[in-house]
Amino acid sequence: MANGKKLNLKQNYSMLTKGLDWEPSYQKKQDIFPQLEFEGIKIHDWSNWEDPFRLTIDAYWKYQGEKEKKLYAIIDAFQQNNGQFNVTDARYVQALKIFINAVVGLEYNAWRGFSRLGREFGAASPRIAAQMQAIDEMRHATTQTHACSHYARFFEGMGNAPYQFDRTWYLSIPKSFFEDACSSGPFEFVVAISFAFEYVLTNLVFMPWMSGAAYNGDMSTVSFGFSAQSDEARHMTLGLEVIKFLLEQDPDNVPIVQKWIDKWFWRAYRVLSLVATMMDYMLPKRVMSWDEAWTIYYEENGGALFADLARYGIKPPRDADVTIKEKERLSHEMWSIFYANRDVVGFPLWLPSQEEMNWMSEKYPNTFDKYYRPRFEYWKELEDNGTPFTNTTLPQLCQVCQWPCLFTEPDDPTEFSHHQTEYKDEHFQFCSDGCQHIFENEPEKYIQAWLPVHEIYKGNCILDDVDPESPDYNPMVEAIRYMGLKPGIDGGLFKEHNDAMNWEKWTERPSNIHNQPATDFVRKTGSDK
């Protein structure tokens, strides 16, 4: 009796996952799922959850298998052909150091967080969605490690990413962000990561920046970036599904979700601000400015999203207007602070060339020539005189986002934004009103923060072989060692850096396409185009 009947996509998915979970009767449900109640979210009917992608595992294996095959074919070819030398110049590679040292750790924590949701959510369908995202996030941490490992063999500063992620002062920015989410309840985590981080903001990393990677000849990175983002498209859909589900379950959920959207939009925006410098300063050839990207991906596409959610009573995030005010300054302010602190960061820094400054004048007509060009020109003069500007003290960090307090007041680009509050007789510093607001809602959480600069001053950042009583003990030198940074090798001025020297020796091309070659090697061979 042949059976020709074929189930369609929806039927097939629903049959294969149909009723897999059950109401327990030998144990109490609260004991099996202990995390579902303490956040105050009310779920009346988990069965209203709908997975829009309806991917069964066999289909998942098939499509992911194909994606992986394509990706590794490109990575293999790239490595065999020494593709690392085909990128625009050696400055481009510096951005990849941020990827391996910061982003892989984010993906890793995302894997952890979604694994917890895959276990703790109250029904099969949302648990399956979270489990699939968990294994995807594991994929991203893996493929990013594999794509970067080849670069690590030829360039400095990419050799000990996991060690640095746990210890390096500015890497506590991404680390604390994701640990904040992972230490939250399951509903807050999913709003934080699936919605605020992924749905609203990650397009900024994976679309314009990755397209920029392609433009600069890095087929390896663009392949893992786009391939990861195709999983992300499913994840973002989960993010939207989650929000609608929570809002539809009970009106009491609305203010809780709104509070989380406000908090996590700001938290995620501060982390992703790094992308602003990666786009404007670290891509030798640029696709679009941070300002343009923010306009498209947040203001237009995010605007569409929040217009859609208005029917539930959800408003755009509390500090959205600040991000719009900051968009003309963000990358310039951050590049300045990295440049000034270049001896204690894991990658070398440079001043923008004339060509690049002209591009920025065009892209940032209201701010660049007024505030930043004069600064960079002055610093260029100091560099040329052999007395480059440098910061000799460690910066004050924000208690919440852990960025140095480097940002300016939303309505005054000449005034540093500095906020302070007192809690239990202690003073806490913030980079912004947004971060202060987050602290004041949950002070008991944020007083726990492991703030690297504080820890250095407290003497907590030294290796076991160090004797702080010894006469030649230098706390800064020891702290840098503790953080896994190699002084004089990892950071400093780009033009004096090993990467620049090696690049010119190996490729006979200038390490910075806009400047004179840094070494005699290229000058002599004259292969500069």
């Binding site: 499509y63 394509k70 397209s211 392609a214 663009v222 983002q229 195709s230 992300e232 696709v287 859609d308």
Partner: protein, 92 residues
Amino acid sequence: MNESKHPVFIAFQANNDTLPIVNAITRDNPLAIVNEMPAMVKIDCPGRLVIKRSSIEEEVGREFDLQELQINLISLSGEINEDDDEFTLSWN
């Protein structure tokens, strides 16, 4: 009943597999705007964008499963509705 004019978008890796998909989309969505960027093609459309299996099949000359879109997909924005014949993005 769908009246939103807010933009939805879908983006694919720019390659030989996605050419026919992009062609099918532009045929079925007269308001779609195709933005080409390095290695990527992003299609924006006000309010609603529909991808039809039958149109892609005409373009590629073979059977096409809409789940194959996954392979070259980069990103999207809008609420998804997917069945065997259509993949739709829209805002309310």
